[in-house]
Symmetry: C2
Subunit: 399 residues, 2 copies
């Protein structure tokens, strides 16, 4: 498996672009389109929030058919809490794109991100559609990656190439994140594309698995949005056939997970106000579920996150978060390490080299290891710190 | 029911004081003692965190007897993650207090708050015990309330007087809070005292109920500590007899809850970096449990808390938090109001008077009302905002 450039158009059969449609007052790029050369296999994982954006509801229904030829994504407006009017807005846009591309309307998936509760400026966006369709190309992937951002500082792309069954094939993708990054599916948008041959049902299963192990393991603020969307499209142009059992499925699953993990890591690193990230590993739990619950509680704790922001070693906060989780363990056996340095052993704190621990906690990527000594279960989470900048960014967003 | 002064010694039969024992480097008051005139009925609600401070474990065991004559509380050191050595430290202190007071050692309850992972300076604290015991009096309640504080800015006392069965009786108390205030029992210390006559089992039941409706409904940062402690002592000196059924139990339960709710409100108002509080009411849920889960999710959302800090009306964040909770509802019927102003109706945002909403959100106490239109369940939470000051206070605490 090797890294390649090209993001969402790295795999064969995909074109993309991004334009400024005037949704964002800043005149930045805010409308992205991904178009396939011919109908692709499609799968998606969408938010489980009970309050869902109009675009989520539309895409959910269209994904049941397992195929798509285009994905339209706007930033600057979530098109959520907009009722039936918002739904009609989204339908008008996908209809306009379908007409221009001469494809069935149901072959257009849609996603939105941005402020909740405002209507899309549909007329303005409709006027941008001809130029959008005209500019799609394999070269314009970065514009598409740019056009889906909100408070993100950097575009997020990843792509890898691998050999499956003698065929050179690729998986590539783009994502946006920044705020509202939650433990139950990071609140974000992501599109992954691949040129393997795969049935929609299998693509969906593998996408769900990879999402559970990547986007569902990152946390910036523990909030979960109304617009979470992960789409996967498979063109089949590389010839590699992925079957539900055997080597091909394992290889493809690993490739897909690699791309999604890179995108997930980029999301945390670019979280609002984030200065460093922390990987929380929990081992020795009674079950993997216990380990994951423990890792999540630590990764979501505001006291642990502010500790990280201040590079201030505080075993008590990590232990308190572990103990507040549903994981079952004996506090007298608890072990906690920062990097390879033990700060709690047999349930007792030992802070003998604070200066060195401060240095470890000042690095851009910090590792915290917790051993519950209660079994063989393990799990992990990737978290950001919580800084004054996060609060500054989020205290004045809507109005 | 009328408010009275006197805090933890407002009821008959209690004396208190606070001294500086040298646990805090700042030389501030850090050791409190409450002493009863004669053995009192005792009950407690202690943290459910798997990692428990030494004092929690000791008090838990002693509370089984349902009686106590003294409570020793230190601030500046949580005596947690300190293993058996920490347990011996706490036992030496309660033994010294018991000897001076000429009471059985098991009649002394103990609680600690402060930094986790450090040992108590026992020799220094032992030297303070004679002066501590000497200065207990009914007048010194405010010193005791002062001595249990950590990052709190203000002392927290409340007391009320009421007539039960023809007897004038009182319930009073003191608390500390500030950081680590969590939805599953606010991380705090609290002592309530009363002069009614009540069996320990009934006192425990009513204390649990009142805790569920007061301290378990407040949140500053959603974290849960290793040292959470609520003690209740009943001297019986007022003569009012509380029976498990009938008017007396209802009257006493309401009085107890009034005092604890006042203390809980003071804790949120004095939360770290807090500039305003928000009461989240959820009505129309399928069950009370659904309503409470929804209120909790909203009250704990960092995005809602930062919105409150910035006085920035953002219906999407409240709706997204409601939808991320386990409460079952139809998003198309969701209704949200700030004060008496509806900002979401029939699942659609309507923000028609932003300037007025900003003013409402700038008040020290904000009310958010959510109606799920799914049933008759209701619940509420009291939350603080999340400010840059919270992060500043918590980024450099331990070392």
């Amino acid at each position: 498996m090797k890294s390649v450039t090209g993001g969402v158009t790295a795999a064969k059969g995909f074109n993309a672009c991004g334009v400024a449609a005037g949704i964002k007052p800043s005149k930045k790029l805010d409308l992205a389109l991904i178009v396939t050369d011919h109908p692709a296999r499609a799968a998606g994982v969408l938010t489980t929030n009970r309050v869902k954006a109009a675009s989520v509801l539309i895409s959910q229904a269209r994904l049941r058919r397992g195929r798509a030829s285009a994905i339209l994504i706007n930033s600057g407006c979530a098109n959520c809490l907009t009722g039936d009017a918002g739904r009609q807005d989204a339908l008008r846009l996908t209809r306009a794109v379908a007409r221009r591309l001469r494809i069935p309307e149901n072959d257009v998936l849609v996603a939105s991100t941005g402020l909740i509760g405002k209507r899309l400026p549909v007329e303005r966006v409709l006027r941008a559609v001809p130029s959008l369709v005209k500019h799609v190309s394999r070269a314009n992937h970065a514009d598409a990656a740019q056009a889906i951002l909100t408070t993100d500082l950097r575009i997020k792309e990843a792509a890898v190439e691998t050999m499956i069954g003698g065929h050179r094939c690729r998986v590539g993708g783009m994502a946006k994140g920044a705020g509202m990054i939650a433990p139950s599916m990071a609140t974000m948008l992501c599109v992954v594309t691949t040129d393997v041959v795969i049935a929609p049902a299998l693509l969906r299963t593998l996408l769900r698995q990879a999402t559970a192990r990547t986007f569902n393991r990152i946390t910036v603020d523990g909030d979960m949005s109304t617009n979470d969307t992960v789409f996967a499209l498979a063109s089949g142009d590389a010839g590699a056939v992925i079957r539900s059992t055997g080597t091909s499925a394992r290889l493809f699953a690993r490739t897909l997970e690699t791309v999604m993990e890179r995108l997930a890591t980029l999301i945390v690193q670019d979280g609002e106000g984030v200065t460093r990230t922390m990987r929380v590993h929990v081992d020795g739990a009674r079950t993997d579920r216990d380990a994951q619950a423990c890792a999540r509680q630590i990764a979501n704790s505001p006291l642990v996150k502010t500790m990280l922001a201040g590079s201030d070693p505080n075993p008590g906060r990590i232990a308190a978060a572990a103990g507040a989780s549903t994981a079952r363990f004996d506090a007298a056996r608890l072990e906690i390490a920062i990097g390879s340095h033990t700060i709690v052993a047999n349930g007792m704190a030992r802070l003998n080299n604070v200066a060195m621990l401060r240095r470890l906690l000042s690095r851009p990527a910090v590792t915290v290891r917790v051993n519950l000594h209660a079994g063989r279960g393990s799990g992990w989470m990737l978290a950001s710190d919580l800084t004054e900048d996060y609060v500054r960014i989020n205290a004045g967003y809507a109005t």
